[in-house]
């Protein structure tokens, strides 16, 4: 019989609500707890829950490394064929905990995992591309429906069977396109979709277009003369010699460099690493891409409060949007922490 380890929080273990959220990791060997009953029924003779791990949501999220290590230790001990967490429905911290621990079990132990939650649970966005995450209703009233999808998926994973498309198995689309045969041919599906679209009824596209990250502009800076302004560029301006070896195209990194006390970028001190435009004018005077000189003047004139004394730079030439986004996610908080009020982003 296949072995399953099940993870749930303090609430679903009937220990208590928010007041018990600091409940530490507890293992109940051979015991089926709370939603485990529904899973047990769904698994029938094919699989058994060999242990249930209970952990308070606050405990998990506030002692992340410790909790993770403790749970991994337990899972390792039972070496199950599959690990099941939740379902977490719309409980945010529970969802994040389920995703985190499933991801860790897969990555560190090589054991497949499945969880379930409501699409708007923050854990879904964080982990649906890493862990099979079944889409559930937003409350525990949807338990039966959730288990009816999670259990068969868990069994398939345990048996190392091929996993069908998201719409067949009930997991959230995870960025992996899987083929399957529909009951109606494509043209018929197109006509049906068209009729729905014509009638302004909801319809489901079979291929959602890649989402475009449109950023709504922030409100205008109220008083520039008091604002700290930072410079960030994808134009590849780096200290002469490109000390961090930022690639000339398809950059995999960004640089953080000080311009404290620098009034002007000169041919001797700065250059561009960018391979996608004629570098002559940027190398001659890097202020043309990263306008330090002008901002220093404005700083002196009192037009702006202060020029931030570091700048961030990468090469935009063919660089993946995902990489660019990851760079900014790393350095934006630093600028924020240092009190930067506004950023001038220059490209080429």
């Amino acid at each position: 019989m296949l072995k399953v380890v099940h993870y749930i929080n303090q609430f679903f273990a009937n220990i208590g609500g928010e007041e018990k959220a600091d409940y530490p990791v507890e293992v109940r060997e051979g015991e089926v707890v709370g939603p485990g009953m529904a899973f047990k029924q769904a698994f029938g003779e094919e699989a058994e829950i060999v242990a249930t791990i209970i952990c308070g949501d606050s405990y998990f999220n506030e002692n992340l490394d410790k909790a993770k290590a403790e749970i991994l230790e337990v899972v390792k001990k039972y070496s199950p064929d599959v690990f099941v967490a939740g379902p977490a429905f719309n409980a945010g911290r529970y969802g994040v905990a389920c995703g985190t621990i499933c991801d860790a079990v897969q990555e560190e132990l090589g054991i497949p995992a499945v969880t379930g939650m409501y699409t708007e649970n923050p854990g879904a966005d964080m982990f649906k591309n890493k862990v099979y995450t079944v889409s559930t209703k937003n409350s525990a009233a949807g338990m039966r429906g959730a288990v009816s999808k999670m259990a068969p998926l868990a069994l398939k994973l345990a048996k190392k069977e091929a996993i069908g498309a998201s719409c067949q198995e009930g997991y959230m689309p995870n960025g992996v396109r899987v083929n399957f045969f529909e009951e109606e041919r494509g043209s018929k599906r197109a006509v049906k979709m068209l009729l729905k679209k014509l009638a302004d009824k909801p319809f489901e596209t079979e291929y959602p277009m890649p989402t475009f990250d449109r950023v709504a502009p922030n409100p205008a800076v109220k008083d520039l003369s008091k604002a700290t302004i930072a410079l960030v560029t994808s134009g590849g301006i780096v200290p002469k010699g490109n000390p961090d070896h930022i690639e000339s195209s398809n950059a995999s990194k960004y640089g953080e460099y000080s311009i404290a006390g620098v009034d002007d970028l000169t041919e001797e001190t700065f250059e561009t690493a960018h391979g996608g435009y004629d570098p002559v004018y940027a190398n001659e005077d890097a202020d043309r891409v990263l306008p330090v000189d002008v901002l220093r003047e404005m700083e002196k004139e009192g037009k702006i409060g202060k020029l931030y004394d570091k700048f961030y730079t990468t090469v935009g030439n063919g660089t993946a949007v995902a990489s660019a986004k990851a760079f900014a996610e790393e350095f934006a908080p630093k600028m924020k922490a240092d009190g930067v009020d506004a950023v001038i982003l220059t490209s080429t």
Binding site: A165, F180, S187, K188, R189, V191, L194, P208, M209, P210
Partner: protein, 426 residues
């Protein structure tokens, strides 16, 4: 315009002394069809074979698949501008041999592709495994240029199809379907209040082995235009496209265009199927702009409420598809597009080479990069020489045990972008 299509069901094909159709069996005189093929001096020799559903047979490399038809009443003849003289078709009466096809096979270029398996897992991926196929394998005369040879094989297939279609001229169809579309004003009066819908078909039109012909005109030299969907049923569009087996439209798909058929199903009930709009997929970017501008303009001119747009091929046409969709939507015409995906073997790559938020209603024919292992079959019609070099195969494709590991893009019709098949992806 009104067309009656009489279906004559062919349940088997057999070679015989005389070509005829009797009790649903098509008897083919090899001598007679050989003569039909060898009319063209570019073809040195020809072999015929029969592949039936369920048989342990693999046909490869497939060039075209054609359904034999004959025009029994009304203007013109099948394949106008190609086999018959140029004359408007699409009204009157046409008979079609259902349940069978003429399949042309054989090498044209060294990376030729297209597999039809009549049994096993590969058969699930090709719609043509369900047909009785008369396979025509041509050998070229020596020293012939590829484009001359492509044309010779293309025409040989049509001639054979027309020859077989003629055998049905005096038969009584097993069933008859009637298709009728109306003039603009007439349609509005007859079907008041029904949303006006058209089908925008993008035709492959990039050059040698990538061409489509409308009444014999090379589609890359055309402006977007209007055609009556019944004209297409008489072979007004034929394929000269031999590359990208999974998502090219063989002539059979044009004759039996599934979007046309499924829109006719709703015609007069939930929609008014106004017409079909043909546009191309040229290499030159300004051509794309002109053609998509023109398509959107026609949609507006016809006061359409909605369209379905279908695609043919990979890469370059993704740009036409998105341009068409964006511009048609911008005219306030609701759009559904049909495409297929190249998401990589692992399914993780970006599926299309272009994208736009306006394309919010997409039907997909599946991921063409999916890997499949095809078992060894007892008989090969054509040759396996090219299996290692076809798209979606590699040097290990033909394995020692006779099985073949390929991406489904090697299979004829696997991810068809007119929605001819059942495959999809999520």
């Amino acid at each position: 315009m009104k067309l009656e299509v009489g279906h004559i069901f062919i349940k088997d094909i057999q070679f015989g002394a005389e070509s005829k159709i009797e009790d649903g069996v098509l008897y083919v005189s090899e001598e007679a069809v050989k003569e039909v093929v060898l009319e063209d001096e570019h073809i040195a020799s020809v072999k015929f074979d029969i592949a039936r559903p369920g048989e342990s047979v693999r046909i490869t490399p497939v060039k075209d698949v054609i359904e034999p038809r004959v025009k029994v009443e009304g203007r013109g003849g099948v394949f106008p501008g190609v086999i018959s003289k140029v004359d408007t078709v699409g009204e009157g009466k046409t008979y079609a041999l259902k349940g069978m096809a003429v399949v042309t096979a054989g090498k044209i270029v060294g990376f030729q592709e297209g597999i039809i398996d009549m049994t096993g897992p590969g058969a699930d991926y090709t719609p043509f495994s369900k047909l009785n196929n008369l396979v025509v394998v041509c050998e070229p005369v020596e020293g012939i240029k590829q484009h001359d040879y492509e044309k010779a094989v293309r025409f040989a297939g049509f001639r054979v199809a027309v020859y077989l279609g003629e055998l049905a001229r005096n038969l009584t169809p097993d069933e008859t379907k009637v298709y009728e579309t109306y003039g603009i004003k007439e349609g509005m009066e007859k079907l008041p209040g029904l949303p006006r819908v058209a089908y925008v078909q993008m035709l492959q039109s990039q050059g040698l082995l990538h061409d489509t012909y409308v009444y014999g005109v090379d589609a890359k030299k055309t402006l977007s235009t209007i055609i009556n969907p019944t004209e297409v049923m008489d072979g007004a569009i034929v394929s000269g496209n031999c590359v990208s087996a999974c998502d090219k439209n063989p002539t059979y798909v044009h004759e039996n265009n599934p979007v046309v058929h499924d829109l006719f199903e709703e015609h007069g009930k939930t929609i008014n199927f106004v017409c079909q709009i043909l546009t191309n997929e040229n290499v030159y970017l300004a051509d794309k702009q002109r053609s998509s501008d023109w398509t959107a303009k026609l949609c507006r001119l016809l006061d359409l409420d909605a369209v379905i747009v279908s695609q043919e091929g990979f890469g370059n046409p993704d740009t036409d598809l998105i341009m068409n969709c964006k511009k048609i939507e911008a005219e306030g015409v609701k759009t559904v597009i049909i495409t297929d995906e190249y998401a990589g073997r692992d399914g993780k790559s970006q599926s299309l080479a272009d994208a736009d938020a306006a394309a919010d209603a997409v039907v997909t024919g599946g991921n063409a990069n999916q890997v499949i292992v095809l078992p060894k079959l007892d008989k090969v019609i054509g040759t396996l020489d090219y299996v290692n070099t076809i798209a979606g195969g590699n040097e290990h494709s033909l394995r020692e045990d006779g099985t073949i590991e390929v991406e489904i893009q090697a299979i004829t019709g696997a991810t068809n972008e007119t929605g001819f098949g059942y495959l999809s992806a999520r």
